[in-house]
Symmetry: none
Subunit: 225 residues, 4 copies
Amino acid sequence: MDSQQDSPTGKGSQRARWKQDPEGVRSNILAVALKEFSEHGLSGSRIDEIAAKTRTSKRMIYYYFGDKDGLFQKVLEEAYRHVRDGEKELHLEDLAPVDALRQLVEFTFEHHRRNPDFIRLVMIENIHNGDYLRKSELIRSLNQTAISRIEAIYNKGVEAGLFRKGILPVAIHWQISALSFFNVSNRMTFSQLFGGDLFDEKGQDQLRRQIADSIIRFVSSETPA
Amino acid sequence: MDSQQDSPTGKGSQRARWKQDPEGVRSNILAVALKEFSEHGLSGSRIDEIAAKTRTSKRMIYYYFGDKDGLFQKVLEEAYRHVRDGEKELHLEDLAPVDALRQLVEFTFEHHRRNPDFIRLVMIENIHNGDYLRKSELIRSLNQTAISRIEAIYNKGVEAGLFRKGILPVAIHWQISALSFFNVSNRMTFSQLFGGDLFDEKGQDQLRRQIADSIIRFVSSETPA
Amino acid sequence: MDSQQDSPTGKGSQRARWKQDPEGVRSNILAVALKEFSEHGLSGSRIDEIAAKTRTSKRMIYYYFGDKDGLFQKVLEEAYRHVRDGEKELHLEDLAPVDALRQLVEFTFEHHRRNPDFIRLVMIENIHNGDYLRKSELIRSLNQTAISRIEAIYNKGVEAGLFRKGILPVAIHWQISALSFFNVSNRMTFSQLFGGDLFDEKGQDQLRRQIADSIIRFVSSETPA
Amino acid sequence: MDSQQDSPTGKGSQRARWKQDPEGVRSNILAVALKEFSEHGLSGSRIDEIAAKTRTSKRMIYYYFGDKDGLFQKVLEEAYRHVRDGEKELHLEDLAPVDALRQLVEFTFEHHRRNPDFIRLVMIENIHNGDYLRKSELIRSLNQTAISRIEAIYNKGVEAGLFRKGILPVAIHWQISALSFFNVSNRMTFSQLFGGDLFDEKGQDQLRRQIADSIIRFVSSETPA
DNA sequence: TATGAATGAGGCTTCATTCAT
DNA sequence: AATGAATGAAGCCTCATTCAT
């Protein structure tokens, strides 16, 4: 996503040579392609357009990614990685279960909201029946932590008598995802059909709190005061 | 547009029954186009492919719908109309607020689940920033009833002391939609990342009930036993 | 998807044994290129493909052979040299003219049959109007012995009253070549049009003998018994 | 091959409308493509080049032939058909076996010589392992008459005691083909290696007679005087 | 109302080759 | 002697759309 800086190869030495910078070229292509794909979809995007916005040539796209599909695949992987990396900022271990859950929900809501490109990419991937995700070994591994994070909070809450038993952590995650995702994915149609009040700054703040409430109520053993 | 009178409906000559049947041709094109668009997206669909699966020719698509965008527009409108028509089956007036709400949620969940083509079309329209919906006078009018239906239930529940005050009907609708929509729209990626258990028959039954619970808990003044 | 040619992933690992062996590298390239050119033709072959099957890199092909044409030229020369070298095995000096001629024909037939790559290369060169042969000083010199060998046999036969006068040695060679060459060059189309019986082991044995008979009859002063 | 005249649809009425002339367009493309393919091979030919020499556009090539391979396939079929049609001129029924055979050989020799494009196409098809011939139902049927024609002559000759028994008609055909084909296919390389005397007008006349002699001697029960 | 023929613009991809190290 | 990165030109093919009948 952010790839304008120096190549992250780690060596530390290769100061801007601006030619012969494979990692830089690769990530520059990926950044541009992400924007284009998320904006126009897979078949709606033009390799020429992507190339033009790149600091290299069309040829390099094929050099590094083989073809359009290969590029999309890598863009998708990179996007998932970036987003999951972002989630690492969250540290909920020391919070009380209810607070932790609220934090998690609100964070997810905001995180999705701040990454509409990623959301759109996932929409597109779903339109394509998850074909590109299926081929990616990489991505699957990235996502298991999401569930365990919730599981930890949920178990703690159950032990403390705050949460009711019998709910699958994956179902909680599903619900958080659904609400946070839909908020971005369907904004356009929803606001046209039912007005845009939910999507201005104030509306989003309310919605975020409401969603957190909703999830907390969903798992709680009693009504919060 | 009304050219039904002349057609030799009835028995006897199976001579090109569908010829000279403008309305039939139109709706046949729309049906095929819906499938194609929902399967491959707008730019991913091919006019040639659509025409080939039609019982008429490519030229007729242009004759009736002008161009690809025009066709997509009509397909979208038709899809919304069809779906909203389906919702008319619902009769919740005589039910107690909680039951009515549960019915509504579960119905919406199932209804979306049974209309994946429509869901995909809406995803696609969102990818296109709602451009086609924006142009359609027709659709906006279709959707106001969804809110009033909820409003009716909610107000009844509030009056009865069952639901808490201060929740916007549109926000309730939003939440029901989000959960029902996401269940279809993101099935592919979600099941690949977190397993498919939520999506088999049993999983879906649980999910449906859970979602209804979740919404009811969200609006309730106390936690249901 | 998997882009064999271009991918920059290949580290180029294999530690050094063959390094610093110019002659080995050259002949390795030539061997691979022969296979490729004879299989796909000149424009049908890919430098990338050739390089990939080589134990060295694409750059070396250009280093040693200049360009694709230069490589083809050298491959052609090498192939002619190899084949003419093979013919040196033949020692017909001590045989009676008829036996010598039979030997020569049958040897040529088998020799061509065992070198289909060479035959295909010559076909390809003919498709290219002999342009590469024309540029090669080397090759022309290699081929004069073929004629003199026949001339020797033929003259001996004429002197012995076995062969009739007035036939050009080059015409005899032409006929032997034609039959031996066509047997390999047109196998595919001929067998598809007229069946493959002539090309199995037994068919080829018969054909070889038949061709020898034919040539002998052609030059004989009387009918062989 | 020759397709400059009006379309051979047979109606007789459609005088040059020069647009909307599918058969004319098709055959024009085929004629140009034959020239190009036979000159440069399959991968050596350029669709753009073919289109440019056509009276229509590149697009029509794809419209009628699908892709480059499809075009080559049809060109090959057309070429075989044309050549086999040309052979129908031959009427050997009333000739004595030896004369008939000589006629056949000399005709074949000349016919191949006058159709170098066809010969080159067959060379190219052989380079491609007969892949395109294999896919063609059409061609196989065209070629059976070649064998029966020889069979008829041969049987008559055997009955008359002029030809020896035990030779397969297909083997005779094979030999005639080989000599006539090689004369065109390998002219370039052969003349460079062994001089061009066999290929000027006089040389070809001699060669034609010599080949006929050779075939006749091959099948004869005694040596002709 | 209907259809097969035709099309220009532009899409994706591949090629042989050179550069910088 | 050897290599991975880079490239411009050109290749094949597809698209939505219009024409002529």
